[in-house]
């Protein structure tokens, strides 16, 4: 069950923050963009496993000095959220930049303020572009949740691993787990195609 919780929270937090970051990356000025750019490039440049371990150990160390003790699950969710934020930020930035400038100018001609322009004109068009790569990110988050088993979060893969240690039918257990993940991810992909159809009239 923990797999679902971790993935769910990571996707939700990641998407929300990611869209915000992407917006800043696309429209911010040089000084505001810089820390976000650094963050996104750094997280996307290191392997997921290294991110998970780093956040688990470094954040755990820092926070334990202050007195807050993070559970394994919480560190895992923070790590996965950080990763998905970076990815969604890139996706959003790409989508927003690909909308022709004429749209913004048309909005200004009508007399809309920038936030109204964003909500009514830019965002709906960006959504259609964001959805396919976002489904990809959702799939990667599900696959990433298996990595949390390496920091001891009691999730699907770790449970299978423990069962294998008490049994001789290793292959069967792992293939069964593999099948479950395969089905879950296939469902996510189908859902994504459904969203795509709805988003493009």
């Amino acid at each position: 069950m923990n797999m679902v919780t971790a993935t769910f929270f990571a996707i939700i937090i990641g998407t929300t923050l990611g869209i915000l970051f992407g917006f800043i990356l696309c429209y911010g000025n040089k000084y505001v963009k810089f820390p976000f750019r650094l963050y996104v490039d750094f997280i996307r440049g290191i392997p997921i496993l290294v991110t998970i371990f780093s956040i688990y150990y470094i954040l755990g160390f820092l926070l334990s000095r202050v007195g807050i003790n993070l559970t394994n699950l919480q560190s895992g969710i923070i790590a996965l959220s950080a990763l998905s934020t970076a990815q969604v930020a890139e996706i959003t930035r790409g989508a927003l930049q690909s909308i022709p400038k004429g749209q913004i100018e048309a909005g200004k001609t009508i007399g809309l303020s920038f936030d109204k322009i964003f909500v009514f004109i830019l965002f709906p068009q960006a959504i259609a572009q964001i959805i396919p790569p976002w489904i990809n990110t959702a799939t990667e988050m599900t696959k990433g949740s298996t990595l949390l088993s390496l920091i001891g979060v009691p999730e699907l893969l770790l449970t299978a691993h423990q069962l294998v240690a008490t049994n001789t039918r290793a292959l069967l257990y792992y293939m069964f787990i593999g099948l479950i993940f395969f089905l879950v991810n296939t469902l996510i992909q189908r859902f994504g195609k459904f969203l795509e159809k709805k988003a493009s009239f």
């Binding site: 750094f42 290191i46 290294v50 780093s54 000095r65 990595l147 088993s149 039918r169 993940f181």
Partner: protein, 219 residues
């Protein structure tokens, strides 16, 4: 809050970490090589007119892309010995990663093959080339130009996936970082060095591959 940052620790272990980095690069390149072979076969199977081949290729791609890499690694390394197929750590990881890479390469090659205009293939048939020769002299060179950017992107991604080898104790960079962390409790030095090495290597690979692309783009 006091933390004594110590460079000594990094100095003592940098040799091991660089060895691990080299092994990771090596594994990535070899897996990409086998993955390209598998991907080519599967891509031609996916666009062929044979229904059965189409289905096999599609299932292969879907299975290896939707299943987490860690699960695949465990299946191959822990599961296969119970049916008699035994491989060492490094070999089993390269085996798994090759199939994984092959699934992604199939998608890339399939898109490349479908982007070739039909007219060129018909011209080849008009000259009288056999189907195999058409593939070899017409489709492959054109497709190669198309897929090079995606492939270079994918090599970087594959290199980052090699860090999962640490979970079956292949002596890779992540494995040494974790070992350093657990032995000396110096969290910052261990993980920041590892992260720094990964980022620098990824940037280097990206830079070199971009130069290669630019060179090959001039016809």
């Amino acid at each position: 809050m006091v933390y004594y940052f110590s460079f000594r620790v990094i100095q003592n272990n940098i040799g091991d970490m660089l060895n691990g980095l080299g092994l990771g690069l090596f594994i990535a390149v070899i897996s990409l090589f086998f993955g390209i072979i598998l991907g080519l076969i599967a891509a031609f199977a996916a666009v062929s007119s044979n229904r059965a081949l189409n289905n096999i290729a599609t299932w292969y791609t879907a299975f290896f892309r939707n299943t987490p890499l860690l699960v695949l690694i465990f299946i191959v390394y822990f599961g296969l010995p119970s049916v008699g197929i035994m491989m060492g750590r490094n070999v089993s990881f390269i085996f798994t990663l090759s199939f994984y890479a092959g699934a992604y390469m199939t998608e890339v090659f399939r898109a490349g093959l479908q982007a070739i205009p039909k007219g060129i293939i018909e011209a080849g048939q008009a000259i009288g080339l056999s189907r195999f020769n058409i593939r070899r002299y017409i489709q492959l060179p054109i497709m190669f130009r198309y897929v090079l950017p995606s492939m270079s992107n994918y090599l970087i991604s594959l290199f980052k996936d090699t860090s999962l080898a640490a979970s079956i104790t292949v002596p890779e960079l992540t494995y040494f970082a974790r070992k350093l962390n657990v032995e000396t409790f110096r969290v910052f030095e261990a993980w920041l060095t590892a992260a720094f090495l990964y980022v620098v290597t990824c940037y280097l690979i990206a830079y070199l591959l971009r130069k290669l692309e630019r060179k090959l783009r001039i016809e």
